[in-house]
């Protein structure tokens, strides 16, 4: 009897305690009204559109400069984490672009540089510590292996950055969302592709299904082992 009484009490208590904790612990909402991540206030409003956007043929002072994402975000192809470009990177160009040196944001940039202080950027994308997303693998797969345009590949997760000023999270970055892509059939022998029969389908892609139509490239689903992300 005692035992039967005790369990529900424990359950209800725990439920209340945990809910109360979770409710008090104000987390940003999973999605905002427009379905995107929260608007993040940055110390300098970095205009992604100006850097990565398309040229405006009519007016070189408008439009973007079509800089490759990887020019600044060089770590993405080298490491699991993309990091933030060092300040030195910004200065590499801005030191010699006199025409914008008097703009408030650039002045701000110089201030940090002269003080040799890093800019305290706020995180726009963050995953819980038990998830290990690997930038390098995705860049290798889509950009180097399949020759997809860089902006497209990065855009799978980061959205159309060339249209943004301060970046904002575009995708839910939740497990179901990741899986929605990993469950798709991806061609595993695109240009620059990998051999299939000898084992080396791309990283841990699942074993490719061979179609009867030999003209079609074999397709395989993305990695689905738990440990690929939960290490």
């Amino acid at each position: 009897m005692y035992r039967y009484l005790r369990l529900p009490i424990l359950l209800v208590g725990l439920f209340l305690a945990v809910s109360a904790y979770a409710a008090n612990n104000s987390q940003p909402a999973l999605t905002t009204e427009d379905g995107l991540g929260p608007q993040v206030q940055q110390p300098i409003e970095f205009p992604h559109n100006r850097h990565a956007g398309l040229h405006d043929a009519s007016d070189p002072n408008k439009g973007g400069m079509e800089i490759n994402c990887q020019y600044c975000h060089t770590y993405a192809r080298r490491s699991a984490v993309a990091g933030i470009p060092p300040l030195q990177k910004c200065m590499g160009c801005h030191n010699s672009i006199d025409s914008v040196k008097d703009r408030p944001r650039i002045k701000e940039l110089f201030k940090y540089w002269e003080a040799k202080k890093p800019i305290p950027w706020k995180k726009v994308h963050d995953l819980p510590d038990f998830v290990r997303f690997n930038h390098e693998r995705h860049v290798k797969r889509f950009v180097e292996q399949q020759n997809r345009p860089v902006q497209e590949a990065c855009g799978y997760c980061h959205g159309d950055v060339k249209e943004m000023t301060v970046a904002r999270r575009q995708k839910p970055l939740a497990m179901g969302w990741c899986a929605s892509c990993h469950e798709k059939d991806h061609p595993v022998t695109a240009e620059g592709g990998t051999p299939v029969d000898g084992q080396a389908y791309w990283y841990s892609f699942q074993k490719p299904v061979k179609t009867s139509d030999s003209a079609l490239a074999p397709k395989a689903k993305g990695p689905n082992d738990c440990w690929q992300c939960h290490k």
Partner: protein
Amino acid sequence: MIDSGIDRRDFLKVLGWSGAAVALSGCGNTSIEDGKETVVSYVEANDYMVPGIGVYFNSTCAQCDAGCSINGRIREGRVLKLEGNPDSAINKGKLCGLGQAGVQHHYNPDRVREPLLRKGNKGEAISWDKAYALIAEKMAGVQGDEIALLSGGVSGHLKVLLGNYLDSLNTKNHFVYEAVAPGVVRAANQKAYGVEMPRYRLDKAKVILSFGADFLGAWVSPVHFSQQYAQFRKGVDGQRGVLVQVESKMTLTGANADRWLAVKPGTEGVLALGIINALGTAAGEVADLVKEYSLVRVSRETGVSVSQIEKVTALLKMRSPSLVLAGSAAEGYAHGSQNAAAINLLNQVLGNVGKTIEAPVSVPFPQMVPSKGNTAALKKFNDGLSAGKYKVVFSFGANPVFTAPGAFKFKDNFAKAGFKVAFAHYLDETALQADLVLPLDSALEDWGTQVPEYLTEGAQINIQQPLMEKLHANTRGVGDIVLALLKQKKSEEYKSYEDYYAYLRSALLQNKGALGGGGADDDTFWTDTLSRGIVKLAGSAVGLTGHQNVAGLKLPAVAEENEHYPLYLIPGVTASLRDGRHTNQPWLQESPDPLTTIVWDSWVEIHPKKATELGIVEGDIVEVTSRTGSVKAQVYIFPGIHPEAVSIPVGRGHDAMGRYAKGYGVNPFQIMDAVFEVETGELAMHETRVKIHKTGQRVLVVKDEGAAGALQMGRKIASRVSTDQIDLSKEV
């Protein structure tokens, strides 16, 4: 917990429900820190700095004096993990647990961060300029012999600089003190072999007979010896080496031995002479010396049975070369030198000198060889203090207020010194007594060179370099402090060195040729040296004499029973805590003692027979009383201790230092009597006699060893045989 009526199924239900609660209330967010946490980028980054990818730097472990070389993994500018540097002949890529904990020394929350000046009972943060000015002021008009410096072992360029500073002060009062050091063995070795520390070749021996040398745990160079030991176990010619350990308290090495012999405390030398006699190979004066040590007498005096002595003797006869070691258990008595001499004589009789006892190499830069710490130095320092001789006292690298034997009354004597300056990482017991505390860089932030006392293949100078930026802006390296003080005295000579780094660099570059960098340009040589972390030097072999003088060898009669204090107190030196200077590193508190599995606390080891006699069970709080004082601690019933002895590990029982050290356990140094080794004046650490009595309290001993433990829940998973019942001829 176990019988509280909740079974596994219920537990899982609860878990499931609380999980659901979390999900419902919106904790399932993935981007948990969006827009909240700051991500800091580099201002300037080298090509090799990639976020998420580790870079590795070589340096030197500073957790003990063995001088293992380390290789630290640094990511995003933070040191994360230390491993051994494979290039070092000392540790060959390995590291002990104490060494691993070095990162906790660096990130320790209780580090001193500002220079502190005593204001009553408080420390007031002051600037470095003020601190240096204050030292200069206090030094004005003070004679050289009124100034004293107490330090731990020092070597390398720091030793040189320190020597110059002391010269400039016109003082010879440098006391090099290590609470746990083989001081007596060094002296005995000097007599027997002509060198303080020969090179022991455990790997070449077929039998090792160790008299209390815990070479796998805490003795001299444990990581190096562990590797040699592995070789020894594989065997020189396919025959597995046999280890016999003779000691009154089982050490980690003793626990690994094939044969562990409990010897009556202090009679190690008697046993050694008895074995020489039993071997029957000695002639001349040696034979004369040992002829009185008949098996029966030796057995009676040492408590080791005749058959055991015969077995060990047979083993030594059968297998050669062997190696006999004199460790801290043998040297810890008033007649420690005699014990060690008898043991060294056994080596000589067995013909081991030159085979498993080799000549060490000498370091070509004699000014850099280590000043080795011992306990005789503390006595001298303490005497000086008690006579009120010193007006200014410096202290670093040692914590004498904690480690001095209670009988020294060190704390009171220390208070008699005029102005006390401590260079410290923590506000430990000694720093708390100081008038001025100067905060030090951690070993992972500091520059330095080190020459280990125990060298292996060839000589080497170890490089210590910062693995990351300093954590606290106002800490300084020891070298920087000494240099700054030296500049007060000899500004002309040293003004060209902006800091210790500059001094070190120029000192090494000056000797580029001798350091193997001849031909290379300065920058290349320097970068190369730093990236290696070790400078290997040819070094010539020192001559080994191998003649133990028999004339002076006379063991005293076995100590009488002491009516009031019937038990010996054996201070246990453990592999992770050593003399207690690193107790504030929680990993060391947390890792179970290998023999008792106890964590975060002290204990008193008592033999089961003695415990029954006294009506004591595990967990009883007993009061251990010596002539000097008493401590109270929990009992651990331990078959690996001589019935006439109790053992308390040293290193715990701090009443300062930091949150992980303060208040855990008791400090057996406090109750240690001031008994000295007759020839060397070293502290006889095993001579304290105690009595114990129950206080009536009992606690649950917190240990990893479960109910299974040594009793194995009665299941006989691994059965136990007493060593008497083993037939040695089958064993070998």
